[in-house]
Amino acid sequence: MMDLFGLDLTIINDVVKELMPIMPQVILIIAAIIVPVFGYGKRKGITAWLSLAAVTSALALTIFLIYDSYSGSFLNLFEFNEFTGFMMLIFMLVLFLVVLISLTESENRKHSGEYFSLLFVATIGMTFVAGATDLITLFVGIELASISSYALVAFRKNDPRSAEAAVKFLIIGGVSTAISLYGMSLLYGMTGTTELAAVADYLAAGDFTWVYIVAVIMLIAGFGFKLALVPFHAWAPDVYEGAPTPVATFLAAGSNKMGFIIFFKIFLIAFVAAQTVGGVPELQWLFAILAGVTMTVGNIIAITQTSIKRMLAYSSIAQAGYVLIVLAVATEYILAGGLFHMMTHVFMKGGAFIVVAALCARGIGEYISDYKGLAKRAPLVAAAMGLFMFSLAGIPPLAGFASKFILFSGAVTAEGTWIWLVALAVINSALSLYYYARVVKAMFVDKGATTEKIRVPHSFKFAIAICAVATVAMGLYLGPIMEICEAAAAAFFAMV
């Protein structure tokens, strides 16, 4: 028995073991409590560095847990497995990038302590959604993430655009939460349980009833708002445009993925669990149509945008449409492809937003025309932006191509049911090149008004470099990341 000052140390060992599945979150929780305290001190810069240290250690721990193939559950509410680990990795990476680009601004900003604290709380919510095995955990996680996000969007209190965006976000978010909660309660009323696996068992045995149909509609509508699926997408461009750009990065690269997990958990596990007994073709068709409409509308509206942030917002909607194919096809391979696409999306979309944020910080506007001649003024940043744009458009050999390649190939099945969806996705992806290439052309071909050099802050440079390297590396050498995605997909379907 080890003891120190008369304390039994094995108890610490036991606590750590008990908490191990949520250890990365525990680090963030502690940081979320401590960091604001420093925000009231004289040296506000310390909050940022403290946050960076916290998120780095949480990220490192997550990677270690994945590397260790750790699995375990906490109070039957949260399960850490390969899938949870993978999603936590995505959220931690996003958080890391966002904290990184918030470093420079935090020096002279009021309330920077609260800012980081809110970021942490939102991420904690998302990670809990990732590991939720129960509708209650799922809902608490969603609310934790959503409410923090409303506050984050409103963070530039004096900017009317930020405030307007936050109000819109809050009202739409609140309504959608209410709708989805109602759907969940119907589900509970039907099945008498909130455990996802038990719900799945019940639904697999039962028939269609009107309650079932109402519940499905409520859930799709409620969570469709969160994911900004067409026709529930109208808030997204306004919010992305109005929010402070680092927060927009966080929402586009991070929160977006939480919506997918909810859809995967509720529909792939609870409803399509009956896949083994023939699937639910009606639901799959519903998702196929939603996917087709979402990607098409997103891409078409993106073409007409002149503001980069709005263009990126609509592109996010289109990308969400691609990932939605996973729900229609519902095989392990395509889930791996969808997860892969979510991972590459973090770096290419996150990278693009970070470039926009970096240029905003140096007084460059948010319109595509403001980017004219950027290649002369900031060659490396322009080159990175070019990479992100081409990657989003799916040009090889970049990451976005690799993940779309896997995702779309997953929908080509021997039966050929979804071939029309693949054709639609592929044509959408081809047309999307138009609006991405327009940004590239503005930067590299068009002549700008000045050739004055732009100096981008170091923290931004570092974040952009990480994204650019990841975008190229995951495209050229997708073996290792694909293996992680395959393991995550296998673990996900093992939860059924």
């Binding site: 391979y333 791996a336 081409f390 040009i395 090889p396 050999p397 191509f401 390649f405 896997i406 779309f408 190939s409 080509v412 099945t413 021997a414 071939i419 693949v422 054709a423 592929v426 044509i427 992806s429 081809a430 047309l431 090149l433 138009y434 290439a437 327009r438 052309k441 590299f444 071909v445 050498y477 997708l478 073996g479 694909m482 293996e483 395959e486």
Partner: protein
């Protein structure tokens, strides 16, 4: 031969070097900033070594039945198998040679792009990397990557160094061909996934060929997938009615871009039709044969007909490319060994000839300030050497016996006639023959109006000078090759004799 084979170094990994050298060349060219001569020399050096290596490869494999391949492990997961499989046979060897040759010629020829010459030559080398990859790839994933990679530098070449309508032309080129590639991608997915039959998705050419031989592809499947793939390739070739990107892109591109576009990039389409559609989907090919023949005849005639109406010399040459690529498809569509061989011969011939034509157009535009045929006239007086090259190029293109174009078109027509005899319908040959007259017509008419007759007074001819040394070297070398292969076509036919048996034995 013994002496040569003892000279060649078997241990030299030529195949990967053919891909790596252009990439390195692009990087080095890009890094030399603001020094025009040095970047050009760097480009010449790298493309020269690449050409030398491809010649070495030709010697190396000539003793081994013109087949060489190498494989490096790349991606192997539970679901996917994609390896760096590269290789050549007779057909791809010719295309590799053509690419290496034309890039070297372009590097020698180009000096007029004074602005940002480091990026200019870097983009040319990057295009070469993409093109080489397409002709070397033996894996669908790799093939598709290079297929698209070749697109991007060409987009920047047109958008950055092109003519007045370059913004429109570059965007149209990019979107149009990208949409086609994506549709072709569906075809590739279907091929690979059906070939895998529920197992690991193996993207290698070999695996799909094996599945095809094992009869995994039903006739309906073959017809559908042939259609998807053929559409993707047809846009690249391009065939009427999917050709509208070509006149814009070719006219607006800088000379070097036009040469690479017409000389090698269009061949990606026809190469892929032979390599993928015909080799893997023979039943699909038979089902689509009539459509292919009709499309080929339409392209041949429409291209030639459109040429007559053109005022811009470069636009005329662009449309003539459509007509000549129609001959390539006509050869392929006969689905006979001889037809396919001469189709490839025509690809090679057109690559050489059209480069001369575009270089000639570039010189006219640069030296006189206009390419408008009605404004030109009597150029032969001030520019005798130039007129000689132009005449040579035009005559080669219209199929003058003794030059390479004649052999190619003669062979294709022979194969087509042979096919028509087989089905006992002779009249379609009339269309093919009529196009020969049209071609002779528009080329000689254009020559008559631009280089012969009285010297024009519509433009200022006082400062016009003749072909300079670097232009002369590039044009001279190309013309010499056109004559050489015209007189000794067996030099190429020998390489082509060794082709996959499937291709020689279709039907």
């Amino acid at each position: 031969m013994d002496f040569l084979s003892s000279l060649s170094i078997p241990s030299l990994p030529i195949l990967p070097l053919l891909l790596i050298l252009p990439i390195l060349g692009a990087v080095f060219c890009f890094l030399i900033k603001n020094d025009r001569r040095h970047t050009r020399h760097m480009a010449i050096l790298f493309s020269g070594v690449t050409l030398a290596l491809s010649l070495l490869l030709l010697y190396d494999i000539s003793s081994r039945g013109y087949v060489e391949s190498e494989s490096y492990a790349w991606i192997n997961t539970a679901y996917l198998q994609m390896n760096l499989d590269i290789g050549v046979d007779g057909m791809s060897m010719l295309m590799v040679l053509l690419t290496a040759l034309l890039v070297l010629m372009v590097a020698i020829f180009s000096d007029t792009e004074s602005e940002r010459s480091n990026s200019f030559f870097a983009l040319i080398m990057a295009t070469q990397a993409g093109l080489m990859g397409v002709y070397l790839a033996q894996d669908y994933f790799l093939f598709f990557i290079f297929w698209e990679v070749a697109l991007i530098p060409m987009f920047f070449l047109i958008a950055g160094w092109g003519g007045p309508r370059r913004h429109y032309a570059s965007m149209k080129f990019l979107i149009y061909t990208h949409v086609a590639s994506m549709i072709m991608l569906i075809g590739i997915f279907m091929l690979v996934i059906t070939a895998a039959d529920g197992g690991v998705l193996n993207f290698s050419f070999e695996a799909v060929k094996a599945a095809s031989a094992a009869g995994l592809f039903t006739t309906t499947f073959q017809v559908v997938v042939f259609g998807l793939l053929f559409f993707g390739f047809a846009v690249k070739m391009p065939l009427v009615p999917f050709h509208t990107w070509l006149p814009d892109a070719h006219v607006e591109a800088p000379t070097a871009g036009s040469v690479l576009l017409a000389g090698v990039m269009l061949k990606m389409g026809s190469y892929a039709i032979i390599r993928i559609c015909l080799e893997v989907l023979p039943e699909g090919a038979i089902a689509w044969q009539t459509v292919m023949i009709v499309l080929a005849l339409v392209a041949i005639l429409y291209g030639a007909y459109a040429c007559i109406a053109q005022k811009d010399l470069k636009k005329m040459v662009a449309f003539s490319s459509i007509s000549h690529m129609g001959f390539v498809l006509l050869g392929i569509a006969t689905l006979s060994g001889i037809g396919i061989q001469f189709a490839i011969f025509q690809m090679f011939a057109h690559g050489l000839i059209t480069s001369v034509l575009f270089m000639v157009c570039g010189i006219v535009g640069h030296n006189t300030g206009t390419r408008d045929i009605p404004l030109l006239g009597g150029l032969a007086g001030k520019m005798p050497i130039f007129a000689g090259f132009m005449m040579f190029g035009f005559l080669a293109s219209l199929g003058l016996p003794g030059l390479i174009g004649f052999v190619a078109e003669f062979g294709v027509l022979m194969a087509f006639f042979d096919y028509l005899m087989g089905i006992d319908v002779l009249w379609p040959i009339v269309f093919a023959l009529a196009s020969l007259m049209l071609t002779a017509g528009y080329f000689t008419w254009a020559m008559q109006r631009s280089i012969f007759g009285k010297e024009t007074t519509k433009i200022d001819m006082s400062n016009v000078h003749d072909v300079n040394r670097r232009e002369g070297v590039a044009l001279g070398l190309l013309c010499a090759l056109i004559a050489l292969f015209g007189i000794m076509p067996w030099l190429i036919m020998d390489v082509l004799a060794e082709m996959p048996l499937v291709l020689l034995g279709v039907v």
